[in-house]
């Protein structure tokens, strides 16, 4: 794996590198370089190879860098992080932290990956398509001494934190789809999945998984089973992933500290400002049925309120989508 990473560090500048020079620098044969290039292509990278010129990435790439991320973190958050690490490839960053429980302390442990081979979408085994360097795949571990009040609303508060961090980095036109999808112009930009384990009457440990599309290469577009967008289409100058990551970590940890003290109340107004569905006709899809109605908004506990046949109902699950009224 180190060889792949080392190769990518050469290619990241987006310029041509000859196979011979790469082979020398990495201490391997030219055939081995070619094999590594093939395998990087398998991770979703667009690498040209041109005779007598060598290999070149279609676009320069900013690799994740722990030192740079640390420098850009909000000062107050620096001390809240116990470990900050980048795994070049991870099955899933959430899985990586969850597997440490219950034995290890994951409080303040932040993990990033350049590529996820099995990024988690949600319970029904959807995967988060995670091309190498094309997005942000980030998990944050945290410990609560007691289950916070309205625990499920933590999911919505995280959406507020992440959307705020992206706005701070110049990404405009963002909104939220219940419970926490980050959406722009009807397309998904990012998703959040929280996993946790704990004893109801005492503590809990949580892992917040955040996936953001930064620049999704064309060759993986077909793998994503829903309308999506990425940050590169929403900004004039693309912020570096390190900058985005630092902003997201700072905002999320800040949110966790607030949520532990005050619950969802500090985030509800902002969630409602970002709510893209309130007042709209929508469908709420469950595995075996679909309910249609008008979205009334969110309750103080984070549940979705909908008016269905003139009656108000509250929901803690289901997949929301706008209904086209033809």
């Amino acid at each position: 794996m180190n060889k792949k990473k080392a190769l990518l560090e050469f290619l990241a500048d987006g310029k041509f590198h000859s196979g011979t020079k790469l082979a020398q620098a990495l201490g391997v044969s030219r055939m081995a370089v070619w094999k590594q290039v093939q395998s990087l292509r398998g991770y979703g990278l667009d690498i040209f190879s041109v005779k007598r010129k060598g290999y070149r990435l279609s676009q320069p790439m900013d690799l994740l860098d722990v030192t740079r991320i640390r420098q850009m973190l909000a000062t107050a958050m620096q001390t809240r992080i116990s470990t900050l690490e980048v795994a070049f490839v991870a099955e899933s960053t959430n899985r990586y932290l969850m597997d440490k429980l219950p034995r290890e302390n994951i409080h303040g442990h932040v993990v990033l990956a350049e590529y996820q081979s099995a990024g988690k979408g949600s319970k029904d085994n959807r995967t988060w398509v995670s091309p190498l360097g094309g997005g942000i795949y980030l998990s944050i571990g945290w410990h609560f001494d007691t289950y916070p009040n309205s625990f499920t609303a933590l999911s919505l508060a995280t959406g507020v934190a992440v959307a705020g961090a992206l706005q701070q980095c110049g990404v405009e036109g963002l909104g939220l789809k219940w419970p926490n999808d980050i959406v722009s112009q009807g397309s998904k930009l990012g998703g959040i999945l929280i996993e946790s384990r704990g004893i109801t009457t005492s503590h809990c440990d949580i892992v917040i998984g955040i996936g953001i599309n930064v620049r999704i290469p064309e060759q993986v577009h077909a793998l994503i089973g829903q309308p999506f967008t990425d940050i590169s289409r929403l900004v004039r100058t693309l912020p570096s992933r390190n900058q985005l990551v630092a902003a997201i970590i700072s905002a999320t940890i800040g949110m966790l500290i607030e949520f532990d003290r005050h619950g969802f109340s500090r985030f509800i107004d902002e969630w409602r400002r970002l709510d893209l569905f309130v007042g709209k006709e929508a469908s709420l899809v469950f595995p075996d049925r679909t309910l249609n109605g008008r979205v009334l908004g969110i309750e103080n506990n984070g549940m979705l309120a909908m008016s269905i046949n003139g009656r108000k109902h509250q929901f803690a699950g289901g997949e929301l989508s706008l209904r086209s009224l033809e």
Binding site: P102, S122, K123, N125, Y147, F151, T152, A153, L154, S155, L156, W178, P179, N180, G191, I192, L193, I194, E195, S196, R197, G198, I199, T200, T201, S202, C204, L284, V285, F286, P287, D288, R289, L291, E299, N300, N301, G302, M303, I308, K312, H313, Q314, F315, A316, G317, G318
Partner: protein, 160 residues
């Protein structure tokens, strides 16, 4: 109000025992409704049902059903032990992923900290751990069932 305060108290206890969100009892002209939820607005507790996705109004009109006299039904059949309750509203899953064997079964020994089930809601998947070591004496909910906050899920008989 003619209804005995002790009856109301009993009602509240039953409610807490049962995991039901709301009970309404009619006695002649009088009626009382007790709800465990302090949601703003009307005290409805509606959750999507299971993977099934139906909505259920979690209400029980205890007086309406013969044989559902206070204190004589399900509460008495619950074995002694520690009740493990849900920390959140959501759907109860007995196994890590569909088709996999359940985390625990009736009569199985568990150690404090073992995962008993998953409750899922709003993109949170929460693994509920055993708060004590012992034997699973009762499983009070079924796979795919909608769960209320504080609803008892398991009874663990303490000891190893």
């Amino acid at each position: 109000m003619a209804m005995d305060i002790r009856k109301v108290k009993k009602l509240i206890e039953m409610l807490e025992e049962s995991g039901i969100a709301e009970i309404e009892i009619h006695e002649g002209e009088e009626s009382v409704r007790v709800s465990r939820h302090s949601v703003v607005g009307p005290a409805v507790a509606q959750v999507p049902q299971s993977g099934a996705g139906a909505i259920t109004r979690v209400t029980a009109a205890a007086g309406a059903e013969p044989g559902a006299e206070p204190g004589t039904t399900s509460a008495d059949r619950i074995p002694e032990g520690i009740k493990v309750k849900s920390p959140m509203v959501g759907i109860f899953y007995s196994s890590p992923t569909p088709g996999k064997p359940p985390f625990v079964e009736l009569g199985k020994a568990v150690v404090k900290g073992d995962v008993l089930c998953i409750i899922e809601a709003m993109k949170i998947m929460n693994q509920v751990e055993a708060e004590t070591s012992g034997v699973i004496a009762k499983i009070m909910v079924e796979n795919g069932e909608p769960i209320e906050y504080g609803q008892p899920l398991f009874v663990i008989r303490e000891g190893t």
